[in-house]
Symmetry: D2
Subunit: 360 residues, 4 copies
């Protein structure tokens, strides 16, 4: 009820804080017999890890994952899989200054008011570091989905007002990984990189948009009322730190269209499958996947920690000035890509198991 | 697991189809001792009801709610409240033509493929008519929240590309209800109305955006990881039929901002409360309400049913032409307003009860 | 959270009170394509209905079930099935006397203290009448299980200290239904019947034990830790009104045995299947069904309503005398049999769907 | 869904196997501000630990608990608490013999059939060693309940056919802990001890009964339908390894009584509280606690591992002889006491938080 779990049949229970001794998660519902070792998970964590380029924070997080249960002789046993990532730099005294104030647009104020106490170091439970465990769980989900040929590809579509117009069909994981921005579009990637370096130099930050497509989606995933596939995706995406918006298919732009333009017209393709000419639906109709690619976007706000002086208040509400310290992301987008991938994998995997349960 | 329930402590289980004998829901978790009768619920249903103006469908849905359990002598007993709305026009033979084809951008195709069977009449379970039960449940939640002075106001902010720029602070329920568009902004409401009548004349449809604010929000609602308040709101909104996007606070536009502009700076107001000068956060920080107004938007696509000929396929995937019939909404926006209100009330009420459970 | 639902993949949400306008339930998770009509459910309700013999209450409860959703053209659609049973004799003024006191060993006192209000008529939500909806849901589960050849048989094994020693293997539904006690053992059924009539004449009541076996149980149902099959069965049985105990296999008697006697020795039968010579495990090992018959017992206390004077207290705790009225069961056991059947069907069906989800 | 979690508001997610690198659990829902350190938990684990006397297994399990999250500066933060216990003797090669056969009345056969794979070492996930994590979680629940003056006391009431007749009112934790049997009744404790040593000498095992009372129970815990307090207790108890039965209050013996004897008559005590003269209800009426002591019993079968030759089958179902090895419990009862305590604390704590959420 305290909301540390996501999923029903493929369920992840996340625990841990930024600067505690460790963080991790328990993954329930992975069928038995899947080959699994730390080597399957580590590359996913490495993609999320800070310090990969100048564009993101230079903090070093080793992020070595350990499988503590649910796997024997390299195979899943069907029981709960416990994943743990030890923190190399546990709680220190560095944060005493921050204990006395509420950083703007962070969770300091809300945690203090809700709980009467907060873990100051690195933001504690509110830190985006908790997403590392989700990425690890997502690696397992991804391996299951890969066995079904389902492919998830996310990329940076916008940084600030620099927008890629590349067709999703042309995006490959290789193109995404070909540059530190994780934007596959060579027309804009340099501008994006310059923009990030520019705000970084100013001690400032910038937001952006991640787009995700899921290919080879099976037909029939999602439930009629509240657990529509797009509803569960929206929840998963909006649970990522710094996300402020979600849209699927035509999204907010589609609200300006007429129905006669917007309707996705069905046809039978050469393989005899029913497909649609356009995909304004984003791969979901009536809450249920229609066999077209899933296609959705997630908005990420600019990171709240600046290397600038900012006004704020202390614990009593009195004005105080504060200046960000340490090594932070000028732009969270490149590192958000593997997180979006992971959360997508968790949702699809959960609904895939649900589908199996009910099929005749 | 089939996803007919939403909420954990305040839980709604929805059942029913468009043209079945009845539809309704079971509301669990309403505390005992609340005054409640059908008269508390009916006005909410009347707001959602079709046929209120030329802008929306002229279908007549009586939508008379009955309370079947959980209330004695005009007070809730703390046990499950069953609400039922009988359908006046249950399943008829009118739909035999539609049984043979898949209407574009409806759920016909996905339901048929997922279940191997579908209730053709009025879209069955995929019909937006199922939202009537949610509105009824939302009425109960709203009454509980009103006792806490929490106020929810939604309105139509855009129809197609006609956009209101009215400040949310100036919007009142009275203004929203002062015209059939449910747009409080006198600068644009006439244009919106004309636009809707125009597309209606063409047998076409148009989308738009609903905006919602929640005033007198208590501090501390929402949970750190997956059940962030905005994540649960996003899920609830994306579960509404025809919704394609959700954004909170600065949303997609905020991605273009620098952190130095975007951060909401804290200050102490005259009442000694900590508030923020701006509200790009939309009332939520770290997933938890910060005492500012909640402020979010929901995108609705243009309705899929057109009074025009459209190409589609039959059950075997062969081309067939189809023409919408009956009385349908040219624009779903005015009727979406009470649905957004209701879903918001359900989410807030659930988190308010969760808050109570854990407070020291 | 208010506990009106049972099951995860096959989920039943129960609503209603003894003397409200109606009671019922929502059944989620029934796969599509099952033939289903009221005629499939009504016989199950008829078995539970009062007034079937002198041994049970003479109240008339019509208990006509209506299917309000989830079925089209005689087939389930895969969506939520709403079942409703209208109460013929809704709330009357007969209960004003009982409003002033707490009947011993009823729920009057606890409901009043928990909720500050209670539905006096017929016990309201605490009435065993709420089990009618579970029996209706159980009918659907039974139909699904019958398609898997799974057979559930419950019977009265003891009334007071009169105990059947009939081997479970010899019990058939026909034998159970051959007499109003629902005891298949001709050696003791007459004594049981006399005992019940005797306590009835005295205005008294008597308890007893229901035993249940499940035949053709598939291997592998149940989960390792908390959702062991026997744990979910125990919860379901202990949720039946008036139940005070649950035991599986050797149960409480088995605690007196040595391990060397108690272990169920494996062997291969002629069909090449691994079975056990004895079944002290009751068909479950490590929480998971082993392919032997499930075999468990449920203890039912004597009914609390007596046709005798009894001491109790009024709302202020002052002594007051009270005398039961109306038509009540001198022994709940015969009518408990179809309820145990139903709850068993719900649990098995839920775990069967869970099994399907995870199978490779 | 794979059933590794118990509780709704106070939720425990258990992970780990007998001989894996570690085991543990995630505890959600502990309110913030509770003083908590490993020192609060360790004594509970020490009570459960093997090797405390000749009556139980001589295996050494260090069982040192670590708190990995959710606690800062000695106080809970309100976020997920991760507990880990490292296994000192992780998977070895000792178990290769057991990999080839199914031990009688263990989970070897059912796990192999359900999952197609099993963790042979020490029984893997089916080992009672997994209860260590539940005991650790129970320590946190107990600390919360102690702040409400709620006291849980469990003890061994029977070993084989040796039965204590001591009145529950006279049992104290000190008496329970005064001997290695954990039976507070000096009239039978020596016989019990001799019995256990006798079966141990024979390489055999023996079962028994644990009784539990909960004192200073608040009124009003439990829900009307499926989450009756006794239903959730039954589930929790039946999820403990080797348990075969649960009864509350009068239990199975009460089925032999007449209603006129069995009804618990209300009266007002000197403090002006309504109490009952007898407690055949076991502290629960209508599924809700009535303010009397909770009083229930759990049956434990004799341990399946014998130091004797036993017939069984190999993986192909062919006969094979097997002889238990290692150090095992001749009687699980003394160590079951702290496990029953812990599971009781988890259930009560969950329902206490649920009560808080709904109270007006």
């Amino acid at each position: 009820m305290s909301g540390d779990s996501i999923g029903k049949l493929f369920k992840v229970t996340n625990w841990g804080e930024s600067h505690g001794p460790a963080l991790g998660c328990v993954v329930e519902g992975c069928p038995s017999g899947l080959s699994l070792s730390e080597d399957d998970i580590q590359p996913f964590l490495d993609r999320r890890r800070p310090g990969q380029s100048q564009l993101v924070t230079q903090r070093k997080e080793g992020d070595k994952v350990r499988i503590l249960s649910g796997v024997v002789d390299g195979k899943t046993t069907g029981t709960a899989i416990s994943l743990m990532i030890e923190n190399n730099n546990p709680r220190s005294k560095d944060y005493s200054e921050f204990a006395k104030l509420f950083r703007p647009s962070h969770a300091d104020f809300t945690y203090q008011k809700k709980y009467g106490i907060r873990d100051v170091a690195g933001g504690g439970r509110s830190s985006a570091r908790t997403t590392a465990a989700n990425v690890a769980a997502g690696a397992i989900a991804s391996k299951l989905l890969a066995s079904q040929k389902i492919e998830i590809v996310s990329w940076v579509e916008a940084v600030g007002d620099i927008q890629s117009t590349m067709s999703p069909d042309k995006v490959t994981t290789a193109l995404v990984e070909s540059n530190p921005v994780r934007c596959p579009d060579s027309n804009v990637v340099n501008q994006m990189e310059e923009k990030i370096l520019e705000v970084r130099k100013q001690g400032d930050t910038i937001g952006g948009v991640v787009r995700c497509v899921v290919r080879n989606m099976p037909l029939g995933l999602g439930e009629p009322l509240f657990d529509k596939l797009e509803a569960d995706l929206a929840k998963a995406m909006m649970s990522i730190n710094a996300s402020k918006g979600f849209e699927i298919g035509s999204g907010f732009e589609g609200t300006k269209m007429h129905g006669s333009e917007h309707n996705d017209i069905f046809y039978k393709n050469e393989a005899g499958e029913v497909k649609t000419h356009t995909n304004y639906s984003g791969g979901v109709q009536g809450g249920i996947s229609n066999g077209m690619d899933l296609d959705f976007k997630v908005a990420f706000k600019p990171v709240a920690t600046l290397m600038q002086n900012q006004q704020t208040v202390d614990l009593e509400g009195n004005p105080i000035e504060y200046h960000g310290r340490g090594r932070h992301d000028p732009c969270v987008l490149p590192r958000a890509v593997p997180i979006v991938d992971a959360m997508t994998a968790l949702v699809i995997c959960d609904h895939w198991l649900r589908y199996r349960a009910y099929q005749s």
